[in-house]
Symmetry: C2
Subunit: 369 residues, 2 copies
């Protein structure tokens, strides 16, 4: 699947403030020396090192030519060292120096941080606040970064009602997966576009998918199973290619994947906990790949407080709550139980060849962001 996720090649120009977390689309070369002049690395007095020769506490040297400087201030070219306040005493227009200074002492040379023409950042660098500060120091006001991958999020289901639109009637539920997918896509570096709820109608789902092809990726939620009214896989098959229909993962088995007009389409199951598993296992690496971001996920090692049972042949995604160094599996009967996620700090993956994990085993907890 990941091989079909093409990192976005388009670029855009953002102000430094708006560039946080974004990825540079080309290297940045410094157009100037930084600092642009020799500067004082200490508060003190700029002196000529030659004139301090032999100075020591018992035999100080007295200078006529010196300049009070503060840290960061330019050191004029006729001086080559800065003597600390502690090692000198100003006596009206004379400076008493009690220690010999080496040339360059306490002076930062021009270009010490970076020289004109040197590479400040390589292509693909993710911009953090100190990086943006460095760009500002170079006098650069905006950054050329990769455009964020656009992701169309399409929730489907005749029983769904937009949250807050009205009271629910029996058999109805508020739409939640679209919101969850939208928020995660944004968190993972994508730009989500949430479509209105689409009823269980093959034609309308087809139209929604086609309208989503303006994006770089489509996430179609619900109707991914094998029932006659599970239109998502059929729509993929009709409009393009259904590459995977169902995965050996629990929850999240109906997760499917295909391609329409060269755009990847990921189908998420309608049950929220299954959708969450599929978001983490499939959508996260997909969006990160397209956004030129590392896939690495925040993790924490912990020991299982209780055993986990799982079905062999399925990779099991088990929610856990962290209690100090222990990970407590959250037992919840179904993939529809969102309250179980509210109590979870992350999830543990039980490999498909195992039938569970024992209490006390060390596990890697993937933290929910």
């Amino acid at each position: 699947m990941l091989n079909l996720m093409k990192p976005v090649a388009d670029t855009e120009i953002c102000s430094l403030e708006a560039s946080i977390g974004r990825v540079l689309s080309s290297e940045v070369i410094s157009s100037a020396d930084l600092p642009g002049f020799p500067r004082a690395a200490m508060d003190g007095f700029a002196v000529r090192s030659l004139e301090t020769r032999g100075a020591r506490p018992s035999a100080p040297v007295y200078l006529h030519h010196f300049l009070a400087v503060r840290t960061g201030m330019a050191v004029p070219s006729d001086f080559d060292a800065v003597i600390m306040l502690e090692d000198s005493v100003r006596r009206s227009d004379l400076l008493e120096v009690r220690t010999e200074m080496r040339p360059g002492r306490n002076v930062s040379t021009a270009g010490e941080d970076i020289r004109r023409g040197d590479v400040a950042f390589r292509k693909g660098h993710r911009l953090r606040p100190p990086d943006l500060a460095f760009l500002a120091a170079l006098g650069i006001e905006d950054a050329t970064v990769f455009r964020r991958p656009r992701v169309a999020v399409i929730p489907t289901g005749g029983e769904l009602v937009r949250c807050g639109a009205r009271e629910l009637r029996p058999g109805e539920a508020y739409e939640v997966n679209g919101l969850m997918a939208q928020l995660y896509v944004r968190l993972w570096g994508g730009l989500p576009f949430r479509h209105d709820i689409v009823p269980d109608d093959k034609m309308q789902i087809s139209q929604a998918v086609e309208s989503g092809l303006h994006a770089d990726m489509v996430i179609l939620i619900g109707g991914t199973s094998v029932g006659e009214r599970d239109y998502a896989p059929q729509v993929l098959d009709d409009l393009g290619e259904l590459l995977v229909h169902g995965v050996r993962m629990q929850p999240g088995k109906p997760t499917s994947f295909g391609q329409v007009a060269d755009k990847p389409v990921i189908c998420l199951p309608g049950y929220p906990v299954a959708a969450l598993s599929a978001l983490y296992l499939f959508v996260r690496p997909a969006v990160k790949r397209m956004a030129h971001l590392p896939e690495e996920q925040p993790k924490k090692l912990a020991r299982l407080s209780r055993k986990i049972a799982s079905k062999a042949g399925y990779e099991s995604i088990v929610r856990v709550a962290l209690r100090g160094e222990e990970a407590e599996p959250i037992m919840a009967s179904g993939a529809g139980i969102l309250s179980s996620v509210a109590r979870a700090d992350g999830y543990v993956v039980v490999p498909e060849e195992l039938e569970g994990l024992e209490a006390g085993e060390e596990v890697e907890v993937n933290l929910f962001e």
Copy 2:
């Protein structure tokens, strides 16, 4: 210092989309059962379990009364189980059932996820996408969260020029610490207000600090050392109380701290790498505390590729680059060298009682966000 950082008590109401990462200021009670009705946990047929008694493949039972249901659909009250498609065959108006069903089989009861009156979230819960989905499922359209701590960021320094405003003259530098502080404050859960650059003038710095008291915290940058023109500590002393002037940390020694009109004021050194250290060691926990967020920082264990030398009596903040499992110390002569941070993935803290760390030692790398 942290004891003076009062978590913000004010609250505000945010849409679910805008509530990501925010902290609930009160518990959330469910006003309804979720689901609000018994629902099918499988695609199949709703049946009366009583009527399936004794059914087995060799002796199927035929039902007149059944209803085709899809996962998540309401199961009407005259049915109490759902039989999977695989265990039944529809024969025109009869359903052939080959397995006995227990009452409640494949039916999620009303209130299975959460019951009316139960606590959905406790006060202080940080809202992640699945939490917001859970709120949406309960029909809740917005969240009452703690207001973000307002942080006034005041850069000072006569040599500073706003990035991009004009070419630098000798002795000048573009202002970068204000931008860095602003971006980190936002990342750490605060709401930054960046003041224009203030020259090295005691009166103007005083006025800027006073104008910053609309915020919950003030960050004053530059002029924190012991020179006669280092006004930050003097201003704190005049307007309020200077509690700490200098810390045993390297870089970042001039970091100071005080209180004006009951508002904490943190003074950061003007050298960018020193400012960065102080941001991580002091501002981060302060903002997180005020924002009701955990202080825990992303970390990674690694082995030092080379020894680190440090000054005993000072806690040393050493930038490192990660190369696989190894942490490579970045040797840079001064606290002004921002290019060294561009190459760094995080920092290692060498405790003040040590004079360094040996190559091969395992260290905890605090990752730069």
